[in-house]
């Protein structure tokens, strides 16, 4: 408390002259007009765009291509900010983030940051179709054909037991920050399973590969777009069908995930002052196959995100030229 008083004292003394009305969070030098668009074509003279990087490689692929174009075609500087999904929205409030390039639903955040706080705005779909669900390796479906119906999962719970699952079946989830209703689903569908967090996309992929190679049972949370589906076969388990609004209360969800139209979110400030950078972000839209190609290069072909983006840009001029601001 003493410290706080001290800091506060120093600050009030030092800054009271500067602004008497108090400081709002947007008054931040670090987050000041980040993309002051000017007509200059010289590299990085156009301004800086801060793009959030969420923790899966598909997201990174989209961000890499947009960054590449911003830097090399429009002369912006791009600052990539590695963050989880929800903190990325907070980052728009603090001025640390201008763009979220692949947003998965998040209706609650849209309500809070777009409708109520008016800090963020939608910038349209990015063309990717998102699927979230529970998957098992293909060999399991051949051996236990009825496993793809959720009603039979309890029958097979013993197969999925691990040292971490408390004597129940293990449902392997990814990063705790990913969009997931799995704990509620397990509870509300009365499944004899425990959700165990692997911690990351890479850990899920590793588990899927091991389960396929070593024929180990595995039930896991996974999603599309995802390059891994080009390498190994995973089969989706059918949960009770999704109907509009069945997932309104996150604690009472008992239905499948909705089909996602992945979209872009930008900060209000960026929408107002982002100029050509904002236009490019708004126009950006590509297919799951496009994303998977770039993600595959990043993950499996040892390319940096920037190199993979360059390769895609050089191979698909007609696609990206359509996004360029007129």
């Amino acid at each position: 408390m003493k410290k706080l008083g001290l800091i506060a004292g120093v600050l009030v003394l030092g800054l009271s002259a500067a602004a008497c009305g108090g400081a709002k969070v947007e008054d931040n030098a670090a987050g000041a007009p980040s993309a002051a668009a000017s007509g200059s074509a010289a590299p990085s003279a156009a301004g800086t765009v801060k793009i959030a990087i969420n923790g899966w490689v598909g997201y990174e692929a989209s961000a890499a291509v947009v960054s590449y174009l911003l830097q090399h075609e429009l002369g912006y500087t791009v600052q990539k900010v590695t963050l989880n999904e929800e903190p990325s929205w907070q980052g728009m409030e603090s001025g640390d983030v201008d763009v979220i390039i692949e947003n998965w639903g998040h209706d609650d955040l849209k309500k809070k940051y777009i409708d109520e706080k008016k800090i963020a705005v939608e910038a349209g779909a990015n063309g990717n179709k998102g699927v979230i669900g529970w998957y098992v390796p293909e060999w399991m479906v051949q051996k236990y054909p009825d496993i793809t119906d959720w009603k039979n999962l309890n029958k097979y719970a013993d197969l999925f037991k691990t040292s971490e699952s408390d004597g129940k079946g293990q449902l392997l989830d990814g990063d705790p920050s990913f969009v997931t209703n799995d704990e509620a689903l397990v509870k509300n569908l009365k499944l004899d399973y425990k959700v165990v967090y692997a911690g990351s996309e890479a850990a899920l992929i590793k588990a899927a590969k091991q389960a396929t190679d070593q024929k180990k049972p595995l039930l896991m949370y996974f999603y599309e777009p995802q390059w891994l589906f080009n390498q190994i076969k995973l089969v989706k388990v059918n949960l009770p069908a999704y109907t509009a609004g069945c997932d309104a209360d996150p604690k009472k969800v008992a239905c499948d995930y909705p089909p996602y139209e992945l979209d872009k979110i930008v900060s209000q400030k960026f929408a107002d002052t982002g100029g050509k950078a904002y236009d490019l972000v708004k126009n950006f839209s590509w297919t799951n196959d496009d994303q998977n190609a770039v993600a595959d290069d990043i993950t499996n072909n040892g390319m940096s995100a920037d190199d993979a983006a360059k390769k895609w840009v050089e191979a698909n001029p007609t696609k990206w030229q359509a996004w360029m601001p007129k």
């Binding site: 410290k3 506060a8 400081a23 692997a198």
Partner: protein
């Protein structure tokens, strides 16, 4: 900074038989009673976890209120937001200044500082260290990390030194400050991220503040110690000559304490550097981002490089500040002349050389490391899997089942009794109160799960640390081989250890245990070694001449005499293990650590995360009191390491 005083063990009284029986009887009776009560009341009065607890909703409401009033409440408008702006500006200014120097300029300046502090040797270390960072290809991220470290160290010193001076001069202030610092040092670093984010949002500002909280205790502690140690005759002389209090402080106390205060600076920097990677979780730039990304991709090589870069920064800053704490040797003109020369040469090279660190000088080490890891993964799978399962099924699961199926009052009673027996009534009451508070936070079950992992990890850590420490104390050669490994392991950022553990053991609790083993063993081993070495040679000689075998010497003489060091080692080992086990949530170790991570990442889990942070602090205090009290009760002259 560990200064365990040499202590003679009290002579073992030749107690009569009846007395001796009484000494082991109460603990045995206690254990029997606990077992009987457990069997009788198993599965009653358990506190199963409820995600929907009312407290969590209340905390969510608090969060919502803060979110809505961030731009209207006077506390935010006039205090918190200004703090945030000020700290953000400080970071931005420092970062811009370091970037403006250019890489040759920064290396030149550092070399100059090294020369100023300790001569050409330190200057050379500085050039080599920072040059190596460039060669590793991590220059830009390292500069950001350096800026973040320096801004939080600057804040720590500006705030910490005055408090330290105050505490050094007033016993009453010291009594208030010491327990607060104790708690600050026990708190797992993870636990205060979410309250800070609530107050200051994410970004470099809150990252700097979080780092400061972790780094400030040594600055205060060591300053207070330094001021206390200033010779009272000098102060009296100054006062009798008519100096005012301010003059005495400025001209006598501070200059005389300066060298010790520099050691405080040194410790503050070390603490800041170990926290800096973790704050990447709340959008701080720098090497931590690379580490987090490597973790997300399970890429060991990619994690090792930023880890080494942080070690290099730590070594350079450590050597400079350590040298600065020693008395000066050269003439003033020579020292400042050399400083100016080196800095100017560096700055002059900046425009001449490229702006970016030249890419052709960089070397790639990621791939070879990953090849090794892949090979181990592919070939040792059976062994690592067996180890994981053995620990999980043999130790973790049974212990966790016992703790969660026992009534909460029985666990609390058992802890109360154990702490009382080991450390006295006060420790017992504090420990029991902490447990009850965890129950009140609606986090009993998760608390027990975390406790399980910490207990198992601590036992393994202390066993390994003890073995290494004893080995090092008995063989100079072994100590010489071990030392560089321990040094490196101690400076690496704690969560770079998760990576090798994840690669070898997959995700789960055992991985967290392995990581905490790497993290805490060096400290334990070092304390054990120092303690054993401090046993007076004469005593050892006497025991030898009395015909003791080496084994008897170790068990009957050396270990008992080094008891206070051993207890300190156990205490430090347990506290560090807790910190690491919590971070282990990033790789699926679950429990309270997971609640904190989820609280940062998911809106509806915010309240649970906040409560879990508090529960972790309570768990830390509990474990610390139980073990630290043991030290305190039996040796009245205990000294906590700074």
């Amino acid at each position: 900074m560990v200064s365990a005083p040499v202590q003679m063990a009290p002579p073992v009284p030749a107690a009569p038989r009846g007395r001796r029986l009484a000494r082991w009887a109460p603990p045995v009776a206690g254990v029997v009673a606990v077992v009987v009560l457990y069997l009788a009341f198993k599965d009653t009065a358990t506190l199963p976890h409820d995600d929907d607890a009312r407290l969590f909703h209340h905390l969510n409401d608090v969060r919502d209120w803060v979110d809505e009033n961030r731009n209207s409440s006077p506390i935010f408008l006039f205090v918190l937001n200004y703090i945030r702006l000020f700290v953000a500006d400080l970071y931005t200014a420092l970062q811009a200044a370091l970037v403006a120097l250019g890489w040759p300029g920064l290396i030149g300046l550092t070399a100059g500082l090294g020369w100023l502090a300790g001569g050409w040797r330190i200057a050379l270390v500085s050039v080599a260290g920072f040059g190596a960072i460039g060669v590793l290809g991590k220059w830009d991220a390292s500069v950001e990390t350096l800026a973040l470290t320096l801004s939080s160290v600057a804040l720590s010193l500006v705030i910490g030194i005055p408090i330290g001076v105050w505490a050094g001069r007033s016993a009453r202030v010291r009594r208030i400050v010491t327990p607060v610092l104790d708690v600050m040092q026990i708190m797992p670093t993870f636990s205060y991220l979410s309250p800070i984010v609530l107050l200051f949002l994410i970004g470099p500002a809150s990252a700097t503040i979080a780092t400061m909280i972790y780094a400030i205790p040594p600055a205060i502690r060591i300053t207070a110690l330094a001021i206390q140690r200033v010779s009272p005759t000098a102060v009296e002389a100054s006062e009798s000559l008519g100096a005012t209090r301010w003059q005495t402080l400025r001209k006598v106390r501070l200059p005389m304490a300066l060298n010790t205060i520099m050691l405080g600076v040194n410790q503050t920097i070390a603490a800041a550097l170990s926290m800096v990677p973790l704050v990447a979780l709340i959008a701080a730039p720098g090497l931590g981002v690379d580490l987090l990304q490597a973790l997300a991709r399970v890429n060991v090589g990619a994690a090792l490089v930023p880890g080494i870069a942080i070690v290099l920064i730590a070594i350079v800053l450590d050597r400079i500040t350590r040298a600065a704490a020693r008395p000066r040797a050269r003439a003033r003109a020579v020292r400042w002349g050399g400083f100016a020369l080196l800095t100017v040469v560096g700055l002059a090279l900046t425009p001449a050389l490229a702006q970016e660190f030249p890419e052709q000088w960089e070397i790639q080490i990621v791939r070879p490391i990953n090849d090794v890891v892949d090979w181990i993964e592919a070939n040792w799978y059976g062994f690592t899997g067996f180890l994981n399962d053995a620990v999980a099924y043999g130790l973790l699961n049974p212990l966790q089942n016992t703790l969660t199926s026992a009534p909460w009052w029985l666990v609390t009673l058992a802890v109360l009794a154990f702490a009382w027996w080991l450390s006295g009534p006060r420790a017992g009451v504090v420990a029991a109160a902490c447990l009850i508070a965890i129950a009140a936070l609606s986090l009993w079950e998760h608390g027990m799960e975390t406790l399980t992992i910490v207990l198992v990890a601590s036992v393994i850590t202390i066993a390994v640390g003890l073995a290494l420490g004893v080995g090092a104390a008995r063989s100079r050669r072994f100590a010489a081989v071990l030392r560089p490994f321990l040094d490196a392991a101690q400076t690496m950022p704690s969560f770079s250890y998760l990576l090798p553990a994840v690669a070898l053991f997959g995700n789960g609790r055992f991985t967290a245990i392995m990581a905490s083993l790497i993290y805490a063993v060096p400290v334990v081993a070092r304390l054990v070694e120092d303690g054993l070495r401090e046993v007076p040679q004469t005593v050892v000689e006497a025991a030898r001449s009395a015909g003791s075998t080496e084994r008897q010497l170790l068990w009957k003489v050396q270990l008992p005499m080094a008891r206070s060091s051993l207890l300190l080692a156990a205490n430090q080992g347990i506290v560090m293990t807790l910190a690491m086990v919590v971070i282990g949530a990033l790789v699926g170790a679950g429990a309270l650590g997971y609640d904190v991570v989820a609280g940062i990442a998911q809106q509806e889990d915010y309240g649970k995360g906040l409560a879990a942070g508090v529960a972790l602090v309570l768990l830390g205090i509990m474990l610390d009191r139980i073990t630290q009290g043991a030290d305190g009760r039996r040796s009245p002259h205990k000294k906590r390491n700074a």
